[in-house]
Amino acid sequence: MGKVKVLWSTTMRFFATIIMLISVPSYGDFSDNLRVSLDGSARLNKNMAANHTSRIYALGLDTHKVFTSANGDIGYLVGQLYLTKLSNQTPFSSLFNSPDDKQYVIREAHLNYTSGPEWLPNIRVGHFTIPFGLEASIDTNGRLLDYYHGKNLGTKLDWGLGFNKVLSHVEYEFSYTMGGKNEPKKINNSYIFSGRIGSLSHHDFIIGLSFIDARIDNIQRKRIAIDWQYYWHTWGFLGEVAFGKDDKFQKEWQEETYSLLELHKTSLNEQFKFYGQYIFTNREGESKNQQLINVGVSYQIDAKLELSLSSRKQVNTPESGKKQDLFRLQLRYRY
């Protein structure tokens, strides 16, 4: 209960500060170069296999602020705080306490210092996406599209410190984070050490190499991965292949292979996007591998409103005998 009170009070202080800084003219310097979006979404999940329907509602602020001095930019701050409400959601994330819980969820919240000397990398501090695989260069926060960081690595975002830089032909990001996921602290000696080095992310062909060494939720994970993106016309062919091992019981390593292939197509004006994904996971000790297919479509109705649908089906029958069969629909409004 105490924890909830502390989080509530911190959140209130955060919002009060933001509101004051935005609305009071005397704080004009802070509102310079500040972008604020209100981001609201309603998501319907229909689990066909279990004949179960749930909903997730999120409303939050997505802010981006560039700090400058007379000599130029110093760095930028990204802050995304969302009030998220579950309705009949099972299973639910560890961030929540019940199928109908509501919690304040911090997505990205970090400061990237960019004005060091040329030889010095940018320094990122805060809650950010783990630099690994496709997710490192494609923002999926708040979307149905997903590259499964959370499922594969134990978390998508974490609190810590990172170093990043874009050079003339390559870009890189390395980070050391605490493994507390949504909380800025270590839990049972948790940590995540990860990094990705890749070709420039605005090119038509992008290739990257990643690694991760982590201990989250008492599971030790080690992975290396290769990811690529190839764009031609309005088509994109993306992939990620990861090899590694997990130690769930602190006594025995189990090897794991994971691969994701995606083909997507956008309309010329990018209002419409269709994608299909094939995901293959093979874990040592499990008699059957897992094969999933995701198909999804999103339509940007106007600059503010987006409708997305997706369907996930399991190709092969798992040991449990129940194939995944999930349909999702989301309406998202950004103002």
């Binding site: 004006n269 209002q271 103002y335």
Partner: protein, 199 residues
């Protein structure tokens, strides 16, 4: 529930709140260096492209409109060498037959084109940007001078540009429209603020 109401009121009443804009530099520190190799830092100035700006674009460039992703908050970068202003950098996107083309424009202090490069272009004809004759048509020109390269339909480039564009006529028109919108919007939105750098 109260927080929902407060958030909604604050953001809806805030003039800064706007949907995300797509076109921005992926990495300003590195990409501005390509166009201004001597720069040591950059200064960001964020402004909002709204319906008023969109109407002004339609008025100055009939038959043209802004893509929905062009509305919202956009950044103009001032390229600096220590405290000296070298020029400005702005990114705009333009729809083409090969999807959206994103072009990084370097402007001098008089709002004339200094240089440009593609941030994203999926057209197989994109190598036209390496053609010096093609690029030189743009360099040193301001909005009014570039506008003379538009044909009477207000959308396609005329022969003064197409003669230098080899077989990339569609892309040449895309680059021209993007240049015109960049110069126009930069002047309307940032022009007043940029005057201090010309003192």
């Amino acid at each position: 529930m109260r927080i929902f109401i407060i958030l909604t009121l604050v953001v809806f009443l805030s003039p800064m709140a706007y949907a995300d804009a797509y076109c921005s530099l992926r990495d300003p520190v590195a990409q501005i260096k390509q166009l201004y190799p001597q720069k040591t830092n950059q200064l960001s100035i964020v402004k909002t492209v709204d319906a008023r700006i969109r109407n002004l674009v339609k008025l100055s460039l009939p038959s043209n409109d802004l893509h929905f992703s062009e509305l919202g908050q956009h950044t103009l970068y001032v390229a600096m060498k220590n405290t000296e202003v070298l020029g400005y950098v702005h990114v705009r996107s333009e729809q083409s037959k090969w999807g959206l083309v994103e072009i990084i424009w370097a402007l001098d202090k008089n709002l004339q084109i200094k240089d440009f490069t593609f941030q994203r272009c999926r057209s197989p004809k994109k190598k036209v940007i390496n053609n010096k004759d093609f690029k030189n048509v743009f360099i040193g020109k301001n909005f009014e001078e570039l506008k003379t390269l538009l044909s009477s339909d207000g959308i396609t480039a005329n022969n003064m540009l197409l003669d230098k564009a080899e077989d990339a006529s569609e892309l040449a028109s895309v680059v021209l429209r993007c240049a015109l919108k960049t110069l126009l919007i930069t002047d309307i939105l940032w022009g007043e603020e940029l005057k201090k750098f010309n003192l």
